[in-house]
């Protein structure tokens, strides 16, 4: 190598004149980052314990019913947990998961002033909330679609599953239930989490907002004969009822919501989702981004 092409490179600072992404990429980045953080990925084992346990609780019924049917070689149809009633059965686990996911996604940013850092960059409050919403919704899908999908796949592999065309239809129904349930819990939990910076208070708030209305409405209808439509306020029952309807099953219980038309039930869920999203958006619009 001839000597004259020896060169010393300046290791100093280099300007960046490469391409810059379109602003919506910042939303995708933040959504991915938040989802990983909420599930404790890239964080200590301690942060994975809580989400893992809740998911395990939600998968438990599916696991037992699959094992039970595989071991006894035949499906005792009425003993097994049907797809329709699954959302109702894991109601507590869904609330617990929402009480973990949304506060973890929203509260730390405000407490640590990271929100100021994000909003000082190429994000405004609406884009910030869209990113966070996509993250929470994505994670919630794990618990609303996961167990059902697991049951379907397990039954198909074990040979008990329905034939080709029915499986496709079942798959669509699972997705429909998973998405509506995830949307409802996302909207409610994010709305509550926008009111406090302490994750603990937000977690309690989420669970209360989900279960307290149900208690009051139950007494109002059953004891005081209020109209059944009032039952649309107890969100866990409404979204569980919608799941029954989507799978074409009917609940044996005589909860008031079972008397309502499917459109009304779907409308109730939709209204709750919109209300939650609106409350969260209004809160963030007025929020002082600076600690």
């Amino acid at each position: 190598m001839t000597t004259q092409d020896a060169r010393l490179f300046d290791l100093g600072y280099r300007r960046y004149d490469g391409p810059r992404d379109h602003p919506w990429r910042a939303i995708v980045t933040l959504a991915g980052f938040t989802a990983r953080r909420v599930l404790g990925l890239g964080r200590g084992a301690r942060h994975k314990v809580l989400p893992a346990i809740t998911l395990a609780i939600a998968f438990l019924p599916a696991l037992t019913s699959v094992l039970f049917s595989v071991l006894t070689e035949d499906i005792l149809v009425d003993d097994l947990i049907s797809y329709g009633e699954y959302t109702f059965i894991i109601g507590s686990a869904l609330a617990l998961f929402a009480a973990l996911v949304a506060p973890e996604a929203l509260c730390p940013d405000r407490r640590s002033g990271m929100l100021g850092l994000y909003l000082a960059g190429p994000l405004d409050r609406t884009r910030y909330l869209v990113a966070k919403g996509v993250a929470v919704f994505g994670v919630m899908l794990l618990i609303t679609v996961g167990p059902l999908l697991f049951m379907l796949i397990a039954f198909v592999l074990a040979g008990f599953g329905p034939s080709g065309v029915e499986t496709a239809e079942l798959l669509l129904q699972i997705l429909a239930v998973g998405i509506t349930t995830a949307l409802l819990y996302t909207a409610l939990s994010m709305a509550v989490s926008s009111f406090t910076t302490r994750r603990a208070a937000a977690a309690i708030g989420v669970v209360l907002v989900i279960f307290v209305p149900a208690s009051i409405v139950r007494a109002a209808i059953e004891s005081a004969g209020a109209p059944n439509e009032l039952d649309l306020l107890s969100s866990p029952l409404v979204v569980a009822e919608l799941a029954y309807r989507i799978f074409g099953e009917t609940q044996e219980g005589n909860d008031p919501v079972t008397q309502l038309s499917t459109w009304l039930v779907a409308g109730g869920v939709g209204a709750a989702i919109l209300a939650g999203a609106l409350v969260c958006w209004l809160r963030y619009r007025r929020l002082e981004a600076f600690r």
């Binding site: 490179f9 300046d10 100093g12 600072y13 280099r14 300007r15 960046y16 004149d17 490469g18 391409p19 810059r20 992404d21 379109h22 602003p23 990429r25 910042a26 980045t29 933040l30 980052f33 953080r37 890239g42 964080r43 200590g44 942060h47 730390p108 407490r111 640590s112 002033g113 990271m114 100021g116 850092l117 994000y118 909003l119 000082a120 960059g121 190429p122 994000l123 405004d124 002082e288 981004a289 600076f290 600690r291």
Partner: protein
């Protein structure tokens, strides 16, 4: 190999503020602040609660002002589009960053948030962390880092996307002298070599004196003094002399030469006189005393600052 281009001055003033007012309920944080912050490194000096952090949050468009004109890089921060905010770097005052995130991941995340493609973000994050002096410890979680290291991580995250303007809020808060000196040298380099405008807020006088080209002193939400350091520094002439013994004798010799001298322990303060230097030198040489300090008695920033403080 792109040499660090000098930032083309889009407009002479990087930040210009006229009559900016900001109130939090009854307390008035900024009461009609006027300031022109030009290119280079500008120190924003003021005691705790003087309005520094509020001004920075207004410049970043994080808060809306109650009155007055404000423009950053030529645009009003509240209505400035996303492209302008992508050209600003910001290191906040607080230290609590996501504790379990490794420094490289944190800086890369902020680079991507400022629209750098993934591969460029990873590469620039590492470069930025090397430049702020974080070697292999940059893979450690931010939570386990000392305050000094965390300040460097914040600085790296503020420059990783190659901004035109960098706002640093109390970057040396909580640092010990060693870390402070290194951080100030680093900020000086960024302001000069990297070709970025910098606004540094601080309440440590000697810091601002060391690295800033100009200073804006804020007190009670208003600008009390502004200008380049040279302008602010000159003041009453005269000399301060410190010897290790027999200061009294030296004083009497100098008074005999017609200088007005006051003695304070082994320190002498000489009134303004142009030919004082040689007279002092010769008097000290004749007496054979040890000359420890000889300094012009210009107004230090401390006098300006304390004077301004009222």
């Amino acid at each position: 190999m792109a040499s660090p281009a000098v930032p083309e001055p889009s407009s002479p003033a990087v930040i210009s503020a006229r009559g900016v007012v900001k109130r939090y309920g009854r307390t008035v944080a900024l009461a009609g602040l006027d300031a022109i912050i030009g290119p280079g490194i500008t120190g924003l000096l003021g005691s705790n609660g003087a309005g520094k952090t509020t001004f920075i949050s207004l410049a970043l468009g994080l808060r809306s002002r109650d009155a007055g004109e404000l423009s950053v890089l030529g645009r009003d921060p509240e209505t400035a589009g996303i492209d302008v905010r992508a050209r600003i770097g910001y290191a906040p005052e607080h230290h609590d960053l996501p504790a379990e995130l490794a420094a490289t991941d944190f800086v890369r995340h902020l680079a991507e948030m400022h629209l750098l493609p993934r591969r460029a973000a990873v590469q620039r994050a590492n470069d930025a962390l090397w430049l702020v002096g974080l070697g292999e410890e940059r893979f450690r979680p931010v939570g386990s880092m000392s305050t000094g290291q965390r300040q460097r991580v914040k600085l790296a995250s503020a420059i990783v996307h190659d901004p035109e303007l960098v706002l640093l809020d109390e970057p040396t808060d909580g640092l010990d002298p060693m870390q402070r000196t290194e951080m100030l040298a680093l900020i000086r380099r960024i302001g000069t070599e990297f070709g970025m405008h910098i606004v540094v807020s601080s309440h440590h006088l000697e810091e601002v004196e060391r690295i800033c080209d100009a200073v804006v002193i804020v007190e009670g939400g208003e600008v009390v003094h502004a200008g380049t350091l040279a302008e602010l520094r000159q003041g009453p002439e005269g000399l301060v002399i410190e010897v290790d013994e027999r200061a009294g004798e030296l004083a009497s010799v100098l008074t005999a030469h017609g200088f007005d001298v006051t003695v304070d322990g082994n320190r002498l303060v000489l009134g303004a006189a142009d030919d004082a230097y040689d007279a002092v030198r010769d008097a000290v040489a004749d007496l054979g005393v040890g000359l420890r300090r000889l300094l012009p008695r210009g107004r230090t920033l401390e006098d300006v600052y304390l004077g301004a403080g009222g």
